[in-house]
Amino acid sequence: MERRYLLGNEAIAHGCLESPISFVSGYPGTPSSEVIEVLSSLPDRSYYTEWSVNEKVALENALAAAWCGIRALCTMKHVGLNVAADPLMTSAYTGVTGGLVIMAADDPFAHSSQNEQDSRMYAKFARIPCLDPATIQEAHDMVRDAFSLSEELGLPVLFRPTTRICHSKGDVELGPVIENTRKGEFHRDPRQYVVIPAHTRILHKKLNEKQPKVRKKLHETGYNHATLRGRRAVIASGIAATYVQEVLPADISFMKIGAYPIDEEWLAEFVRLHDEVLVIEELAPVLEEVVREVAGCVTVFGKKDGHSPWEGELAPDSVARIMASCGFSPAMTFPPVTPVPDLPPRPPILCAGCMHRPVFSAIRKVFRDGIYPSDIGCYTLGIQLGAVDTTICMGASITIGSGISHSGEEREIIATIGDSTFLHTGIQGLLNAVYNGARMTIVILDNRTTAMTGHQPNPTTGLTACGTPAPQVSLEALCRACGVQFVETVDPYDMTSLTYALKEAKERPGVKVIIAKQICVINARRAGIKRGKYRVDQETCTGCGICISFGCPAIERLEEKASIGELCSGCSVCAQLCPAGAIRKEGPR
């Protein structure tokens, strides 16, 4: 036994090693990414690890591994589960022989996401078990035990930590790492693995018949437990349970739920011992709905009567306020405080020397009245530069663009999408746009990595998750194979070529692709690439502000003139933009 101070995701990765696991796949997504980052970087791995190109691909790979009798983990963020929903729903029918744990990390408050969906709903939808940890220790223990649970029930298990588990830290008790000795073997069984109607009708019935056993087994895990202390009770789930415990007075009963589906008889018995019950959970009223179903004439407080919010994340102070609003006096009250008003915001920003910035700048110049569908990645920050008009989900820049082009809208459409996102779900949109005769220009922002989530490799990188060499996919050949006639690759630091390519694309009909290719500036720095620094000649600077509006964090305004600070990475784009020729490379001329 060992006690360490770990990030939630590190503790989850360690739990997997204690299971042990045989197979790992996933697609990066905040807050889930560090699990595979840890597992892929350990020495002496006894298991297979991959970054897949998207979540559907990842889950199908993991499902196959579990069919072969080995233990598979598949990780993604909550919205990734939408992409993987197709195999998810039917994997509950086919079941598994090796343990399959699907980690879908939810993001209450959308710290780093496009929505606040609640993955517990997917588990209910698919009729598979769902584990919802309240602490990092519990997350570690749950994932360690989830594989054998999955094998015992013959079902995939959905493991659903939230941002405040994944990206929190705590002292965690770890067990020994066990070496994986399993080897996969596929046993042909068409009635199980070929879901033609005749088979699937039977499999669906079997899935439904399994449910009482699932509830019983989950109850035995002890993740759901209760303490009787009075005539009123709080029932809480996931991390919200810890916020409740922090402010819970001694005379209020407490039930904590960490596993679904809940044993309803046990729940009903607890609820009916009370006069009033308050349900505390983040996001959807998944737990509250079950409580209301069994409550009879017991009063239930929660989201449905407006006491608790349906959105955002909770915290000890908001939980105390919810309790107070229902007449449950919390053990602690919190002073009302207001943040300091009128401070300039400091949102995340594209790095100094980021290749995306010159692309957005050139697009705005060449396609002045254009419509700019974009996608999910660091480059969504292009919204600050006025060059992002839409973002909805992975891969949707191209499809939104082609939809607009067929809507009767006559303005130019110029879509931006990153290399990893293009390979995730952009290719299908491109194929469709070419096939159906859309009119648009697509710029693939190719920085050779999945930068936003922490620089995970992808098929453009030339390396796998574990750092072994892999063939680099040719985006150019891929686009041509989809039927695109005009495909140009340019260096986005070369403003002349970039602008020329955009102008040429503008003149041509149909779907045009420009691949703006330049290594991510963070990776360039890590690789030791030094391009020198640029400086503003104060004599020559006219103070026109063109470089300032470029928005690079290395460029500041001092008095009325521009100045370049230490963040400069030497991309040279501002020097190319300066009409006075005042920006020059440092050093002797």
């Binding site: 990206h167 705590g170 300091v340 300032i548």
Partner: protein
């Protein structure tokens, strides 16, 4: 139920707030204390405003409620002011005497409070200003400013100085142990003069 000692560390992505919180966590482990922390990961780190919550003897959730932090360590003056409502009445603020101007100020022409203005707006707080970059430079590297700040605030932590120093030495890159040891000690001495 003993209450946890709650520390907020705020700054700008890339300033080393995560290393500082890891050092605190490690020091708690050395003393056999429970600890909880929460921090900013993902895209928000790209030069954005970041916050770490650390709760020494924390047994429940990782989040510190506004108005309850025992101490706030600000790696940037503007960020210190932005999160100052997290401090409890009478709580201490250890603030790096330095401000990085947000790019939004230049691009959107927003108004920025002056350093004097920030200090004036923090007048109700128990404020300790530290020139962390200068002290870190003297210790051997301006990159150790985060350890200087931790040292300056460490007088108030319910942790022993030797546990913290051992944690520093365990967690910083091996070739920077000497510099960071000096950074911690001179930071702690600077904190004593406040």
């Amino acid at each position: 139920m003993t209450k946890s000692y709650d520390i907020m560390i705020v700054g700008i992505g890339g300033q080393g707030t995560i290393l500082a919180s890891n050092i605190l966590g490690e020091a708690c482990l050395i003393e056999g204390r429970s600890v909880r922390g929460a921090e900013t990961h993902g895209m928000a780190q790209r030069g954005g405003s970041v916050e770490s919550h650390i709760r020494i003897d924390g047994k429940y959730g990782p989040l510190i409620a506004p108005g309850t932090a025992d101490i706030l360590i600000g790696f940037d003056m503007l960020e210190g002011l932005r999160y100052s409502h997290y401090l409890k009445n009478g709580g201490r603020m250890v603030l790096n005497h330095r401000m990085v101007v947000p790019t939004s100020v230049f691009v959107q022409g927003l108004s920025l409070p002056s350093e004097e203005g920030i200090i004036a707006r923090l007048s109700g707080k128990d404020l300790c200003l530290i020139d962390a970059e200068r002290i870190a430079g003297e210790a051997g590297s301006p990159l150790s400013a985060n350890v200087v700040m931790l040292g300056a605030a460490s007088l108030h932590f319910p942790l022993r100085a030797d546990s913290l120093l051992t944690a520093v030495q365990r967690l910083v890159p091996p070739h920077t142990v000497v510099v960071n040891t000096r950074a911690f000690e001179t930071g702690r001495a600077a904190g004593q003069t406040c």
